[in-house]
Symmetry: C2
Subunit: 229 residues, 2 copies
């Protein structure tokens, strides 16, 4: 479902060149939980952003559902993401002036759901991540880990085909991490979703089918794992 | 050096009351590395914010170096923090328009250092956290873990007596976590600093002298540990 070929991303800052990605080749199968694992600064977030069309590559090609992502314009990319993609950002990117409930209903806004149906789906998702009692809190009225969970609920609420999850459990304790990963992996299996997961947390990577080890913008090796169940 | 007595924090939201802290009693000894450990939403960040004077308690008292923190006004608190405190925030709180180097020199600005001395200290600190090649990058030109390390460098650059570290390694891989904790614990020992650390990461809590287990705004138990060296 995702086909990445010779992907490169170079950031230019004045004279300096940063080779964030230096030739990535990777195929991700539909329904797979694929974990990107690597040290701080190795290129994981950059790879996720490129595949989701949030940034343009310097070289190389990205096919998602056979759509050439690097060739789409802004409008086409927005439409593509709205239709197929859920994104959990490393820094959450919640709307600071909206409550947890409003943040999670947002992706459902332009999809023809009634207000009642939107709220029902959002409440269900927030309860599933343990935030049933925080529905009307704004981000600055919640803990770091609670904000992270709102961002997770938002990405999953409309059960998109592909989820990009950038460090979804970085601010969660072990027990909450397990609950969240159980939920994520369970939903992925039930709805046939594909998950491209970035995590330093071995608790989270335990749920992956494959672990792709990244170092200095290149794939070092790929670890095949027994599916977690 | 820190004496917390019957500390309570209640957030009121309309009709709803959230008991973030429900009677905390804790003494922290000078030079100690004290880790607060607990689930997401248990009150760790709130406790740190209260002790650093960033928020006012609902009830109870906080003595830091025998200064009654809850009684100071904004101006006195700012002065107190400038003099004695370094804070590593759960969401970093870097200045988005300043480079890594500028962010780290900021705390040294009002202290009588020459510009040359400030830069020298900041460069040394940034190299110590592995960011010697990111000095001129702004936060949005760095990875999540790199931003976290800038925030750590900034808190330590003027070797304050007390460091509040809220999840300093949440976005770091195991190897980088170890390097950073070695640095933090090593500096604390060398300069006699006291560290109040919040972490879900057992890699980080391994460096603590004591682990304070927090649950629903109360201390559940305190675990004494062999000093990490
Ligand atoms: N301004 C606020 N208004 C209402 N409730 C709040 C506010 N700030 C925090 N809370 C609540 O207080 C509780 C404790 O929050 P705190 O940020 O201290 O948790 P934490 O232990 O740091 O969690 P995490 O590990 O997720 O960072 C949470 O349940 C949170 O929802
Ligand atoms: N806009 C930019 N300009 C210059 N360099 C950048 C920019 N964005 C990212 N980088 C650099 O590209 C490299 C890869 O960044 P990326 O965010 O993908 O790392 P990461 O693997 O997600 O790290 P972390 O685990 O710390 O989140 C880093 O060294 C970073 O400094
Ligand atoms: Mg990242
Ligand atoms: Mg917190």
């Amino acid at each position: 479902i995702i086909k990445i070929e010779n992907l490169k991303k170079v950031y230019r800052m004045g004279q300096e060149k940063v080779y964030a990605l230096n030739g990535i080749n990777l195929d991700v199968v539909k329904g797979e939980i694929c974990c990107l694992f690597g040290t701080s600064g190795s290129g994981k977030s950059t790879l996720l952003n490129l595949v989701a069309g949030l940034e343009k590559p310097t070289r190389g090609s990205i096919l998602v559902k056979n759509i050439p992502i690097e060739k789409l314009n802004e409008k086409q990319l927005a439409k593509f993401r709205q239709k197929y993609v859920g994104f959990i950002f490393q820094s959450y990117n919640l709307m600071p002036n909206l409550t947890a409930l409003e943040n999670v209903t947002l992706p459902l806004m332009f999809k023809g759901y009634s207000r009642k149906a939107r709220e029902k789906a959002a409440v269900k998702m927030l309860k599933a991540v343990g935030l049933g009692n925080r529905l009307n809190h704004k981000p600055n009225q919640m803990s770091g880990g609670q904000q992270q969970r709102v961002s997770i609920a938002r990405a999953f609420v409309e059960k998109p085909e592909i989820i990009f999850a950038d460090e979804p459990t970085g601010n969660l304790d072990t027990k909450t991490t397990e609950e969240v990963m159980e939920l994520i992996a369970g939903m992925a299996e039930q709805y046939g979703q594909t998950i491209l997961l970035v995590s330093h947390d071995t608790e989270a990577s335990d749920y992956a089918d494959r672990i792709v080890h990244i170092r200095d913008g290149e794939i070092e090796r790929i670890e095949e794992k027994e599916k977690y169940k």
